[in-house]
């Protein structure tokens, strides 16, 4: 019998604290560099592309498409779908596709962000749109 999955509590740090504060309001934030214009995720202070420190927080639409996925058939907490999704704004990120019929997932499928509670800030997951 699979045990209910206990989500890890985001530890946060000075660099990422604004992400977790916004998460508590249900806002999914990415970072955008005002020097080169590129958005990125997960958030860094210094742009991973041009190394400028002119990065700003930006709220993402939370809309994305599935880039790839794999169904873990067995785990101590039951089956789950790990995936990379590509946000409408551009960056791709690792996540799980939740609250869905896992056998019907397809590459290219539209998904949207959904928050799952932890003992601290909530964590972003994605679910079919």
């Amino acid at each position: 019998m699979a045990e209910a999955k206990k989500l890890p509590v985001p530890q946060g740090n000075p660099e990422t604290a604004p992400f977790w504060e916004a998460a508590k309001q249900g806002k999914f934030m990415i970072k955008r560099c005002t020097a080169c214009g590129e958005p990125h995720y997960f958030p860094r202070s210094i742009c991973p592309f041009c190394f400028s420190d002119k990065t700003e927080w930006e709220e993402s639409s939370g809309e994305a498409t599935i880039y790839t996925f794999s169904l873990m058939r067995k785990s101590p907490t039951g089956p789950y779908a790990i995936a990379y999704v590509t946000l409408k704004e551009g960056p791709s990120l690792q996540t799980n596709i939740v609250d869905c019929d896992m056998d019907k997932l397809k590459i290219g499928q539209k998904v949207k962000v959904v928050w799952k509670p932890t003992d601290g800030a909530p964590l972003p997951f994605f679910t079919p749109a």
Binding site: L7, P8, P10, Q11, G12, T16, W20, E38, H40, Y41, F42, R44, P48, F49, Y67, T68, F69, S70, L71, M72, R73, K74, S75, T77, Y80, I82, A83, Y84, T86, L87, G90, P91, S92, L93, Q94, T95, N96, I107, L123
Partner: protein, 382 residues
């Protein structure tokens, strides 16, 4: 400055064990070190350089002391399963620069006996730890996208396991010696779509070691001469999520660097040791190293093309990680060892490649679908 021809592999040893609950991990490191030193015809006092990775308990401090080494050069670069391929390149650099003359590289551990300690968290931890990336599903995601983009099939992936099993039947130490068919692979349980159980490597205790030395010292010893003529290393990750593409690996960078330094091309290679953590790992590496075009790996591996004596590119003639051995969940060491056996003419007669004078040993380390390193070594019979 190049390392081409400046370092020779004078000693190799693969621990025969695949399950070692009765030994300590440090002890296994000592046993493989002893084996490689004896294979080279040297003594421990000759060693003046030591290389180990994350599998060495406590790292360099306790290991150098436990083994009783007196070294003037050390390196504990840890890039997972390809650490030892990188160590070989770094040992060659150190030898070429005169920093040491006889380097020992060891790998050992017991993941079959008990679970491995977790990796230290990186900057991404809060943003990824909850999603349960494991080796199986991280490689599964690569395979899923490769199939989507290039039409690669499970049947084609299965041929990689079939080829490995054809080789493993002749290896008395192989964990899985039974020859399997494409149907066997497809009928094995789905672990993480689209990878079946038989697309996955074995979990074994054990280890291996290498002795790397100068041309002069190697020529004074009794073993057939094998030298490193090209080396490359590289790293790849999602890099802020821009232009994510999981259908290629860091091998697209490490491979060309190594081939260029060696002055040879994939067409010249007689034998290939390719890290086979999963079947998809092999398929992607063959493409990335240039043995076929990107997307044509499925066609390339099908119909026994990787079986020694049958196909055009004999690979992993010891049975590889898919069938023989995958000590400490790190496949780079055994890749080098089987390549050296081939170049020495010491592989099993049933799988020995005739006149094998040029080989590649290549691997990745970390999670192919998340963050990984790659390293390529071109080896030549001197």
């Amino acid at each position: 400055m190049t390392i081409k021809g400046k370092a020779y592999i004078a000693g190799i040893y693969e621990h025969p064990t695949r399950h070692a609950p009765d030994k300590s991990t440090a002890q296994l490191h000592a046993e493989v070190a002893k084996g490689a030193i004896e294979d080279a015809g040297l003594t421990k006092a000759d060693i003046d350089g030591y290389f180990c990775a994350g599998d060495a308990p406590g790292g360099l401090w306790p290991m150098v002391d436990y083994l009783g080494l007196k070294v003037r050069h050390m390196d504990s670069t840890d890039t997972g399963g390809c650490s030892y391929l990188i160590h070989l390149g770094h040992a060659a650099e150190a030898i070429a620069a005169g920093k040491c003359s006889i380097a020992l590289i060891t790998l050992a551990g017991k993941p079959r006996t008990g679970p491995m300690p977790p990796r230290a968290a990186g900057a991404e931890a809060d943003f990824e730890a909850a999603y349960g990336a494991t080796t199986h599903n991280a490689y599964g995601m690569c395979a899923m996208r490769h199939m989507h983009d290039y039409g690669t099939t499970s049947e084609q992936l299965a041929w990689i396991k079939v080829a490995a099993s054809h080789h493993a039947q002749y290896n008395p130490h192989a964990m899985l010696k039974e020859v399997v068919t494409v149907e066997d692979v497809l009928n094995s349980p789905m672990i993480s779509d689209p990878l079946h159980r038989m697309d996955c490597c074995v979990v074994t205790d054990g280890g291996g070691a290498l002795i790397v030395t100068t041309p002069e010292i190697a020529k004074s010893l009794k073993k057939p001469l094998v030298r490193l003529i090209g080396h490359g290393e590289a790293m790849k990750g999602p890099r802020g999520g821009k232009d994510l593409d999981l259908t290629y690996s860091a091998g697209v960078w490490s491979g060309p660097r190594a081939f260029e330094e060696a002055g040879v091309t994939p067409k010249d290679i007689k034998y290939a040791s390719i890290y086979d953590s999963f079947t998809i790992t092999v398929l992607m590496q063959l493409e990335d190293l240039g043995f076929c075009k990107k997307g044509e790996g499925g066609k390339f591996v099908a119909d026994g093309n990787l079986i020694s004596g049958v196909g055009k590119l004999p690979f992993n003639t010891d049975g590889g990680g898919l069938c023989s051995n995958h000590p400490v969940n790190r496949g780079g060491m055994t890749k080098i060892i089987e390549a050296v056996r081939q170049l020495r003419g010491e592989a099993h007669p049933k799988v020995q490649v005739p006149n094998c004078d040029l080989a590649v040993a290549h691997g990745t380390g970390g999670l192919l679908g998340v963050r990984h390193a790659a390293s390529t070594c071109i080896l030549e019979r001197a």
